[in-house]
């Protein structure tokens, strides 16, 4: 069985939405398309208020450096660039478009020849970002020139409970997805790819195995969280360890998500840019858990209404239950990286009060990165950042395994993340000082 060390085994809860085929999502009246749906600089609007746009038309251009294009998900009228609340609570600029429900579409120019460079250019043009949640611009990721990369790893692990969108894509868009994987291989210039899928998705494994081949292999991975975390996934699939402070490319791999591969297919073969995505809406507090195509910029409220979210819902989470952000307002809107929206009832989530640590060491045994959360937390409380660093605070991936297992219900991820921030800031400061000294 292919897997990594440590980790946890939360209940999958995928049966809620696993059976529901991918359908159309809500058709909102107004969409608030965020200018910042990706890691990097926000895109720069290229439309004026009052202008009419078509579905699939460029409305904001990638800024210089790391950024991504943004396309209109609907046809309608631009109402302007407005400040709108985001998941983090900060107001950020969104382009407000009023939907005219005409669904008039425009496409990217058709690609005449398909080469590594043209595909890479198309991926950048279509504004594709990592759709597993990290939202790192895919073109930048696949551009591995100068590095000795020989493997593409496709992340089909989907290790977070509840989420089933990648699973449905692998089942329903198997051909398109595989073609997308091949385009990605072309763009990255690699000959071999491996699709890692957790073994709780047996039918997806079977289906893709029968269609794959020719350099693309399917690997069944043990169902364990966080199997889909980049470093863990690469290790599970290829037994390669990505060294600390290094990129996957340094271990000779690039990693893309299932949905990203599908988006690449759409951009290359169907000339459709990235303006909508498949989302899982699940949890016991929704009437009908679903996998649906949701336009970027749809308000959470519209999604909730579409799926019949219960008013007694106890907690709303954007993303999976282990790493997902809590939603404090349904006015927030979806983006390219929003893989799921969970409406959990009382029985599915417990509110917790931190008690004194009993020193059981479960957090140490659970941490997939080999850190010691309990000691990092103690060091943090003592403001002893050297010690926090010695226990590895700087390398936390924020997976939450430590908090998940802690019987004292301590807020370990939060503590470790805080320590990480401080440790990194100190390291940066030290580096800058050293640089200054050396001229």
């Amino acid at each position: 069985m292919f897997t990594f060390a440590n980790g946890v085994h939360p209940k999958g809860c995928k049966e809620l939405s696993a059976g529901s085929g991918i359908g159309r999502g809500p058709e909102p009246k107004n969409v608030y398309v965020p200018l910042s749906q990706h890691i990097g600089a926000p895109a720069v609007p290229v439309v004026e208020a009052g202008e009419r746009v078509l579905c699939g038309q460029l409305i904001a251009k990638a800024a210089a450096g790391l950024s991504a294009n943004v396309y209109s998900p609907v046809s309608g009228t631009i109402k302007g660039v407005v400040g709108h609340i985001t998941l983090s609570g900060k107001k950020k600029n969104h382009i407000l478009i009023e939907n005219d429900f005409l669904e008039e579409k425009t496409f990217l120019p058709h690609m005449e020849e398909i080469t590594g460079e043209s595909v890479l250019a198309r991926i950048a043009e279509a504004g594709i970002v990592g759709m597993g949640g990290a939202a790192f611009p895919t073109a930048a990721k696949l551009n591995v020139q100068g590095k000795n990369v020989d493997f593409l790893v496709v992340n089909g692990a989907e290790c977070e409970p509840y989420i089933t969108c990648d699973y449905r894509i692998m089942l329903e868009y198997a051909q398109e997805f595989l073609q997308g994987v091949r385009y990605c291989m072309l763009a990255a210039g690699v000959k071999r790819a491996v699709i890692g899928i957790e073994d709780n998705k047996k039918d997806a494994i079977a289906k893709l195995s029968s269609l794959a081949g020719d350099g693309v292999a399917v690997k069944a991975l043990k169902t364990k969280y966080p199997q889909g975390s980049e470093k863990q996934l690469v290790y599970s699939c290829l037994k390669r360890v990505i060294p600390e402070n290094k990129l996957p490319a340094d271990a000779g791999v690039v990693v893309v998500n299932v949905h990203t591969a599908l988006a690449v297919y759409k951009a290359v073969a169907e000339d459709t840019p990235c303006y909508e995505r498949v989302m899982t809406v699940s949890g016991k507090a929704v009437a009908t858990p679903k996998n649906i195509w949701v336009k970027n910029g749809t308000l959470y409220r519209d999604v909730a209404a579409f799926c019949g979210a219960d008013e007694n819902c106890a907690r709303i989470v954007s993303g999976g239950p282990l790493m997902g952000e809590p939603v404090f307002s349904l006015k927030v809107c979806t983006g390219k990286g929003t893989s799921s929206l969970l409406f959990l009832d009382e029985s599915e989530c417990e509110s917790k009060n931190a008690e004194p640590c009993i020193g059981c060491g479960r957090c140490v045994q659970a941490c997939p990165m080999g850190l010691s959360p309990v000691f990092i937390e103690r060091a943090l409380f003592d403001k002893n950042y050297e010690e926090a660093e010695a226990y590895g605070a700087a390398y936390c991936i924020g997976c939450g395994c430590c908090s998940y297992v802690c019987p004292a219900k301590r807020f370990l991820v939060q503590s470790v993340k805080l320590a990480k921030k401080e440790v990194r800031a100190r390291a940066d400061k030290k580096r800058r000082e050293a640089e200054k000294k050396n001229g």
């Binding site: 106890a314 809590p326 020193g359 140490v364």
Partner: protein, 607 residues
């Protein structure tokens, strides 16, 4: 749609494992139940009362401490866990105030003053037990008798008898139909022996410990490696595989391994550190038991290792996933491979060494042995005799005990291990005997060690012991065929032969009458003659008052030698009874040499 407005915002992760502190503590309490039940069944309701007092003392002192320090009351069950564990560590007939003192000490001094739950550096129960042991030495080592017959001894019968304190003497000879060694093992395993309330029954501990491991409350590595190390150390320190199970099942080792060494706050957090910690526990426990002045070492070992835990946690840090050395190479997983290697070596060492030093007891029952206590043999056919006797050192009679290892085939003494002898230097000179054959030892004349008379007497006693061992071996295990006797004999009642050896059963009476009281001592010996010389004289019946034959007079002698003996020569210093016995034996031997068997055996090989 109705507006959703009742939801809460809380930080990730939104789903948690079911374990809570209370649940963990509850599991430990559940796991302690079998031990408590066994303790109450074996030692009565008074034992239960002690445990209850201890729990109450722990609980109350924690809450009183909270009250004084103006802290909220604690609702986790950890004080109860400490109370039960400490209570089960007490002797079953301890006075009532002992659990009170122990409980208050464990909770207030060891736990609360260091910051309460999870912050104490030493195991409260182990520290409490050691504190009580130092403060109330005799009360803490008075265990009630080893309930051998299945009766619960009355509350005021206490003894120091545990296996660790008193050896197998503290155990019943047979238990539930199992005799000897396996009887002891079974008895210790079920726990019907003297000891602390909750720790006597290995079975109960295993049930509770198994539950904790299955519930993932404790890390299996700690008890497993602890027991493994203790087994290897027992093998090393006692040189006998038989000791392994006896050591593991006796005293507080099992209880400590599953319930005390696994205490969260005071054991390391990383799994390989736990292996190292458990290894240290195993080594120290057995060292204390074997060489220390306390018969029991578990609590002390736990306390000692507790002190090392912070350093282990700080300096032996897990290797991170993808961690590199300064040069950029992957950081080697030193601890991981070292600890795995350690466990492998321990397991292999036990697997290889245990059969070499495992002994099965051999039942010797025909003869009347002056020295031999028990006999066992190992896989290679080496016999190990446990012999006891005394050496008369002037006014003082020195008890002696040795373990003599003899090889039956080569008739050699392989090794001698003194167990008890003089502490003043009057010790046996082992080089006289070790590596020598039976015949060489019989032929030894001068046993004096540089003018130390007392040492010489010890040597003589040891020689007699060795001679008895070999004659017992031949007597019990020699394969002889019966010979038919034609003539009438005064003493000879049977004759057998095996190769060049002839063996006669001789019996008669020695007239040990005193003027006031007539007394005839029945004598019966088995005499073996080989190549015309007396090889063994094995006693079947003779005086139990010391009027016994002096073998040194006859062994190795020929017919002519014995015929030439005068009564003066065989007079035993001062004791007429012994002299009379010796004279009788001389007559018996002469009759053997003169018998038809001897004549025919000497004349030709046909009988």
């Amino acid at each position: 749609m109705a507006e959703i407005n009742q939801y809460k915002v809380a930080c990730s992760p939104h789903k948690l494992d079911g374990a809570t502190t209370r649940r963990v503590m509850l599991d430990v309490l559940i796991a302690l139940l079998p031990c408590l039940v066994c303790g109450v069944v074996f030692f009565g309701l008074y034992a239960l009362m002690l445990v209850v007092i201890c729990v109450a003392a722990c609980f109350a002192s924690e809450q009183v401490y909270n009250l004084i320090r103006k802290k909220p009351f604690t609702t986790d069950l950890s004080a109860l866990v400490t109370g039960v564990i400490l209570g089960l560590n007490l002797p079953p007939r301890a006075p009532w105030y002992i659990p009170v003192v122990g409980g208050v000490f464990a909770i207030v001094i060891v736990k609360m003053l260091f910051g309460g739950l999870g912050k104490n550096f030493a195991n409260p129960a182990a520290a409490g037990r050691v504190f009580l042991l130092l403060a109330y030495g005799s009360a803490m080592t008075s265990f009630i008798g080893a309930d051998i017959a299945g009766n619960i001894l009355s509350a005021d019968v206490t003894t120091g008898a545990t296996y660790l304190g008193g050896g197998v003497g503290a155990l019943a000879d047979g238990f539930l139909g199992a005799e000897g060694y396996w009887g002891y093992v079974l008895q210790l395993f079920l726990g019907k022996v003297g000891g602390s309330i909750g720790e006597t029954s290995a079975l109960a501990v295993l049930i509770g410990g198994g539950y904790l491991i299955a519930r993932r409350v404790i890390d299996w590595r700690i008890p497993l490696v602890y027991l493994l190390t203790a087994a290897a150390m027992a093998l090393l320190c006692y040189g006998s595989a038989n000791e392994i199970l006896l050591q593991l099942f006796s005293g507080g080792l099992m209880f400590g391994a599953f319930f005390m060494a696994t205490d969260y706050a005071t054991s390391p957090k990383w799994k390989y550190n736990r292996v190292l910690y458990a290894f240290g526990l195993g080594v120290i426990t057995v060292l204390i038991r074997r060489f220390g002045s306390y018969p029991e070492g578990t609590s002390l070992a736990i306390l000692f290792m507790n002190l090392l835990v912070p350093a282990m946690d700080r300096f032996l840090v897990p290797v991170r996933f993808g961690q590199t050395t300064k040069k950029g190479a992957p950081k080697p997983q030193v601890m991981k491979w070292a600890m795995r290697g350690l466990c492998l070596v321990l397991a292999l060492a036990i697997a290889v060494a245990a059969p070499l030093v495992s002994y099965t007891e051999v039942a010797f029952y025909k003869g009347d042995y002056a020295y031999i206590q028990s006999v066992s043999r190992d896989f290679s056919g080496k016999y190990v005799f446990d012999v006891k006797g005394t050496a008369e050192l002037g006014k003082f009679s020195q008890p002696l005990e040795y373990e003599i290892q003899a090889d039956a085939k080569s008739q050699k003494v392989v090794g001698i291990r003194p167990i008890t002898q003089s502490t003043k230097g009057y010790v046996a000179e082992l080089s006289f005997f070790e590596g020598k054959t039976y015949d060489e030892i019989v032929a030894l004349k001068d046993l004096s060690t540089d003018a130390q008379t007392s040492a010489t007497y010890t040597n003589i006693a040891l020689k007699n012991m060795i001679v008895e061992c070999f004659s017992a071996l031949d007597f019990e295990l020699g394969k002889y065929t019966d010979l038919v006797l034609q003539e009438e004999y005064t003493y000879i009642s049977g004759a057998e032969r095996s190769g060049a050896k002839l063996r006669f059963t001789v019996s008669g009476q020695a007239d040990l009458s005193s003027p006031s009281r007539p007394y005839f001592q029945q004598l019966e010996y088995v005499v073996t003659i080989e190549n015309g010389r007396v090889k063994y004289i094995q006693t079947v019946t003779e005086s139990t008052k010391g009027y016994t034959v002096d073998r040194a007079l006859f062994l190795g002698k020929t017919y002519e030698d014995i015929l030439a003996m005068t009564e003066e020569g065989i007079r035993a210093d001062g004791t007429t009874g012994a002299t009379i016995t010796n004279v009788k034996v001389r007559d018996m031997l002469l009759e053997c040499f003169e018998s038809e068997c001897f004549a025919s055996a000497a004349g030709g090989e046909q009988v």
